[in-house]
Symmetry: D2
Subunit: 374 residues, 4 copies
């Protein structure tokens, strides 16, 4: 165990997601038998004080107010970017150029063109990348994917997916970077999760008809004025999948009362699945093969039968939390860096989501169906 | 009470819906203090034997194998049509011409043009009409409508409605009249309920973008052959409401495992509602005015607070059943005939639903947004 | 059909349950193919005016303010008693003496000794009796009973049953006949339902340890004074069943927020069932025989697979209401009168429930386990 | 931050709970601003190999096969005992004698007499203790406790609590230490959680009537033979609280299909709460003060409004997992050691639970109500 190679991490950004990443780094090695030993090397924030405080709180050995020092440091193996979205590209490209592996929070970049540049740079350089789509790490989604792949639902015909919350429902809430025309909006921010889940389960979406709507047309600019909002509060789409299925997708950040309605239903010829992130340790399964008069959606509770749940809890029903999903994400990424497994959700995958988002947005603007570029 | 005027009913058709209407006629006078006395006068079915059996079972005084005799009989006040959809128009027009009130099961007619002819004939003649959209009679929908109208949700921004079942999910199921290109399909058959509920709650839909998909392209014709299916198995739409709200609608009869997913969510600036016909004695209400840390969707159970529930049960929680909704429908119609209230859902309203369905279907074919004719 | 023998009904009492019985009489013949033709002959209430109004509203041919005229009338076949509990015995014994079949609302009598006298009188006279425990008529309970009997749950080990509501939770609510020391209290009033369901599903309870608690010690007497309450607000028991299972029972009428928590769970060696009257068109079934990783409680929705649901609705998911259960009760009773089936829940069964209630009450007073008399 | 005092931990036992404690040690400092710096000093297991493997996996600096070395090591501040129950007493007393703080998994000791000795030793020595009842650390339970304390439910009248699982439902499962007559059984193993939750919310239980039942009378002894089981598979009780409320408690490890039914309902004069550990990020709240026709149980989802949820996730709906509860437990214990807060659940509290368990067991044997020793 002492002989495990070290993986030295440099973290840029110490907000909510930075903290969530640190939780992942802390728990992943306890939960999993990682092939590498994680070392929290350096943390960067906008001021020296903030960086040093984060270093102390989070357990990093070094701190800096200059993110470029993280990238230049030859001791650092992985650059972990949780800085504002607008900076992702510059930071990631610099890190890739320096030969670092790069772990980047979603969205990978505001625009698909930027994401493509990043993905191609990483592939050319041969570094391992990861985009933080941690809902996908849920063992119950893995179960759903496996059940579909194994044909337990038969041929898949239909899909209904959404991600609705209400964090932008208050019209008095100020204009933020999430409202920026380049890359913002409900579809990009959380509809992206609905899209990622849909493709994880059913494979590629080939065609979309989008409907992106701005319901709160202006917001306080935080300086006493008003600023027009151009991004969507609700972004939805009709979709077609390469496997022949059809369905719909919705991202919605003004869904009053909803805190985590990242839900889906999948309908096949032999069964169906229903899931809600509101109760993400459950998967509901209907099987037409059940006896007549005994059919119904079964509430399957997360259990050691559903890896890697058993790494966290040895008995069923104990339940994983949001931060546990981050630990699974970290473990998958470390395994990929160690060459033991493919990258779970690399920059190419992040690009794919941006492509879907932009195609839906364009479809909405053009009011016409569009094919999704491969 | 003996002085209550009689309302003599002639029923055409004795299948599922015919029976449900009879349940309504039987229980409505017990439940409500109707202004008229219902008399089951004559029942018509395709054979004399079937008609006489139905008369005995259901309690009609007379029976006939010729539906025209129902219409011609001067003693009959109301003609109730639960015959196959294709016959609705001919029967209804004849009954209207004879000056009868007409109660007609949904859909009013396969085509909006026919429905319009029927609505205009009824209005010209001055008879009272009713189309059977009995889900709308649910006290919890009435509550939802009142809460919205009273501003309890604030300004309405979003809507998500669907009606999904799985009665056509088996590809081996035979071609039926519901698969007929003129008037069939999931959108017309049950998506119509989703549309009716949406407009009942939020008012008129002004624009739609439709997506009607046939997933089971051919079915056994019942004679050893195969017949191509042209109607939609899933019919959905993006919608815009005159009140400024936006949303989506779906009708789906291949939703494996779903038996009665006639659901909606309404999002307003001050609250939200969530409903499922799977548990139609409940309405879930979220209020932003609740204290911080105490907010959540409240499960309101049907109770005497929600008229006319108290007519059926004097205490909360006892629950209404599907057939009770029919009794409410009958009571509303009888009140309209007696001149005590407006028609709850007349032919004009039935026409409206057909218009919406056809506009969505056309939008789907043309792959473009369409305004909905007023 | 015309040759069906008539069954002429005399109803005593026109309150909530009287009305519910009339609903049952009205709909049962429409829903079921009854072997007899029901005729609403006479209704009795405390005044002539009330009786005549009820006759008109409910469709009875005759009305009277003297309940004895119902019993004496040679044309009447069935005496249906929905008068206050305290009168059940006198009315029922008179009706039995007159050779009438007797349909009596629950509780059969305040005291088991009275109930026994009534049951024995009916058996001696050979008339058919029925006590109104209509929750038992739910097709989902019938399903549960059949699944247990068929061994689908394996050997039954445990049971947890309750019936909790909040209609007496308000301490300002006045003293009523339900608070009468002879026969009142939560255990007798609704705990009786929990007991009836338990024995329907698992067979006889042999031993009990009771705990009956009065939480609201006095109530307004309706005349400006206060009256002490001696009956239980919560009555619960540990129980043992003859089949070897053990469990618990609770009746509770001060369960704030609960409107119809008539729930049970049954645990067997091979499976389990969970049910709530709050959603009484569902039964939840867990089977250990399901594949590992795919196990969970299945939400079985009421459907034509579960007779007699199909008599009411031809498709699943439409749902029965409380009054439909009354129609099933009526149909079962009429079949028994016609000699086609055993009495579904006769006076002997009603006596059984009173015996259980009284044994639990006595056990609570004596603070010791008691055997339940056979 | 570098000036934070160190808290050096010695862990005995590396099984499920040992691992869960390590998760807690790993994440607590990231999540909370702890007043001390945790150092994983030494881990002890039964063999050197196992201990060294655990040290490497979990991040301890030292390893030993002799648990006494942990206790003797002057560098160690806290001895954390997750060894088999039978060893808790010996280990804890030795650690206390050595002046160590002691963190001990539940149950504190098989017998209350032992637990008392341990509690008194710790108090005499002045060390800080903690027993692992981590379900109590759930922010939603804290919310429930605060709501009750603040009078939001009015005066509390009733309580129904249980903890039911099915991990012993298979009669072919072997005899284990949990079946040991001294300290085993469902009531002690998980009924203890139901008891702890009940007293956390409502305060002391003063009287009990117990019912402990063995349903699986013998089990394989793991050596080809059979061993009689004397402990309860189901242990339940009627209870009285010092605050005047009454209720019931159940522990059940043969509840087929149930994985984490640690549920409760609390009924007060002004409201009610319902909770299930199956969905432990939710609390359901009914308020009689809500408007008529708008009342219902509100599903409150865990959010930053419910500390310390916000330490883990900055937005509502993300959800905590089982291991997060352990981190909260650790943080509370560290704060107590640092003198910043009282011990959250010390040996005295652990003793209390044992006292309750034993009183219920004795009541069951004696078939009589018993007062609970203070």
């Amino acid at each position: 165990m002492a002989q495990k190679p070290k993986l030295r991490i440099g973290l840029i950004g110490t907000g909510f997601m930075g903290k969530a990443h640190v939780f992942g780094f802390a728990s992943a090695p306890k939960v999993f038998d990682l092939p590498m030993q994680l070392e929290l090397h350096t943390v960067a924030d906008v001021t020296e004080a903030a960086a040093h405080r984060a270093a102390a709180d989070f357990g990093f050995a070094h701190a800096t107010a200059d993110w470029r020092r993280v990238i230049e440091d030859p001791e650092i193996d992985v650059v972990d970017i949780t800085a504002p979205n607008a900076l992702h590209k510059e930071m990631a490209l610099a890190a890739i150029a320096a030969g670092k592996h790069v772990y980047c929070e979603k969205p990978l970049a505001p625009l698909a063109a930027d994401a493509r540049e990043m993905a191609e740079a990483a592939e050319a350089k041969g570094v391992k990348t990861q985009v933080g789509f941690n809902y996908l790490c849920n063992p119950m989604l893995k179960l759903a994917k496996e059940m579909i792949a194994a044909g337990e639902l038969g041929e898949i015909r239909g899909y209904r997916g959404l991600h609705a919350e209400d964090y932008m429902a208050d019209a008095a809430g100020p204009f933020t970077f999430r409202h920026d025309p380049a890359g913002g909006g409900a579809l990009a921010d959380i509809g992206s999760h609905a899209l990622a889940t849909a493709e994880m389960l059913l494979g590629p979406i080939t065609e979309v008809m989008g409907d992106c709507v701005t319901m709160i047309a202006e917001r306080p600019d935080g300086k006493g004025g008003i600023r027009a909002v151009e991004v969507d509060d609700v972004g939805r789409a009709f979709v077609r999948f390469a496997n022949g299925a059809q369905g719909s997708i919705e991202g919605n950040w003004i869904a009053t009362g909803r805190k985590m309605q990242h839900d889906f239903e999948v309908y096949g010829t032999k069964g169906a699945l229903a899931f809600s992130q509101e109760r993400f340790n459950e998967l509901h399964f209907y099987a037409t093969a059940d006896a007549p008069g005994r059919r119904g959606f079964r509430r399957i509770e997360a259990a050691p039968d559903h890896p890697p749940y058993g790494r966290f809890c040895v008995a069923p029903g104990h339940q994983l939390g949001f931060n546990d999903l981050k630990a699974i994400e970290v473990a998958g990424y470390v395994a990929a860096i160690a060459g033991e497994a493919p990258e779970p959700f690399n920059f190419r995958a992040g690009l794919r989501i941006q492509t879907l988002v932009e195609t839906i947005q364009r479809s909405s603007r053009e009011r016409s169906w569009l094919g999704v570029p491969a």
